[in-house]
């Protein structure tokens, strides 16, 4: 492609050029949006003096668990992140499971875990700038200014590790299920070569495929979502100075002396 063709292609939109998992992502967002609207309507109609039932009960249980998690891990003053967790955790959990429905898998498309990692990276640095102000830039010259290039490289490692963890887990599941499916298909063909190809696929495959999908889908989704939530909570809350640091000021990491306010 010439330079002019690249520029023209950049401003040209075509549905064929879009990746299929992008539509899976839109479907997951649509599911969450519809659920949010239904739960909002049910919550408004719910009589506070009566116990809630069904979906609203489940959501209230989840909200209490998440609120306790955010308060314990991040502290009460960062509880505005509850909205972020209540969005990211269901999205990530359903994203892991969407492949089971026959739609294109979402987390084994690298753009999805990369986007989640970039969101986490942005939140970490925006929180750090908000609470530390100009002291935020001390991290790049810790412990001595000559470490600036090293720190500029290592600041991107959270993105790479979070992306590769989720992507690797999803991709390994896809590859292993594909390999087992191929092996079972050949094995069935060897054993039941007299049967029609339609029937042969129904005998050996269901139970192993079901078990593998249960592990790589449900269990892996739960574990990876929990790990992502914990990493978000820990890394974001680390950027907020502790109350005792707020009183005495952030430590001068270059010399190790505490900078006393008003001293």
């Amino acid at each position: 492609m010439t330079f002019e063709e690249r520029i023209a292609d950049f401003f040209t939109f075509s549905f064929e050029a879009l990746d299929a998992p992008l539509f899976s992502s839109l479907i997951v967002m649509a599911i969450l949006l519809i659920l949010a609207i239904i739960i909002g309507i049910q919550a408004r109609r719910q009589d506070p003096s009566k116990p809630s039932k069904g979906l609203l009960f489940f959501v209230e249980w989840g909200y209490e668990k998440l609120e306790a998690f955010v308060h314990d891990t991040m502290g009460a003053d960062l509880d505005y992140y509850l909205g972020f967790f209540f969005t990211a955790i269901p999205y990530l959990f359903i994203a892991f499971l969407i492949g089971l429905t026959g739609l294109p898998g979402l987390v084994d498309w690298i753009a999805c875990p990369l986007s989640m990692a970039v969101i986490l990276f942005s939140l970490i640095h925006f929180t750090a700038m908000r609470y530390q102000h100009f002291s935020y830039f001390h991290r790049y010259i810790d412990p001595i200014p000559i470490f600036l290039p090293v720190n500029l490289v290592t600041m991107w490692t959270p993105i790479i590790s979070v992306t590769m963890r989720m992507f690797g887990n999803a991709l390994s599941g896809t590859v292993i299920i594909g390999l087992v499916q191929w092996a079972l298909a050949n094995f069935e063909h060897m054993i039941f070569s007299g049967m029609s190809s339609d029937m042969a696929g129904l005998i050996l495959a269901p139970i192993p495929m079901g078990v593998l999908n249960l592990y790589f889908g449900l269990f892996s989704a739960y574990i990876q979502t929990t790990v992502y939530a914990f990493l978000c909570a820990l890394w974001i809350s680390q950027e907020r100075p502790l109350p005792e640091e707020e009183e005495v000021g952030l430590p001068d990491r270059g010399t190790g002396n505490l900078a006393l306010k008003g001293a």
């Binding site: 590769m164 992507f167 690797g168 991709l171 390994s172 574990i223 929990t226 790990v227 914990f230």
Partner: protein, 79 residues
């Protein structure tokens, strides 16, 4: 058989040997978590959730080696 494909297979196998160390690390984590649970049964729930987090983070190095092995096989090997 093309020697390059064989060398790619050896490279992928060497990359996957990193999984041994992540398995050892996970076993170490579970061993110490079980020790803690037997000594302090009322903390079992908290120890279990912390153990799961540690296991998932340790497993990530094995996942990285799997990705490298898959890249070696499917990108370099099948080229």
């Amino acid at each position: 058989m093309d020697i390059n494909l064989g060398l790619c297979a050896i490279g992928a196998a060497l990359a996957m040997m990193c999984g041994n160390f992540s398995a050892l690390g996970e076993a170490w984590i579970c061993c110490h978590a079980i020790d803690g649970m037997t000594r302090n049964p009322e903390m079992a729930g908290k120890l279990r959730s912390t153990m799961m987090i540690g296991v998932a983070l340790t497993e990530s190095t094995g996942i990285y080696s799997l990705i490298v092995a898959i890249l070696i096989i499917f990108v370099m090997g099948l080229r």
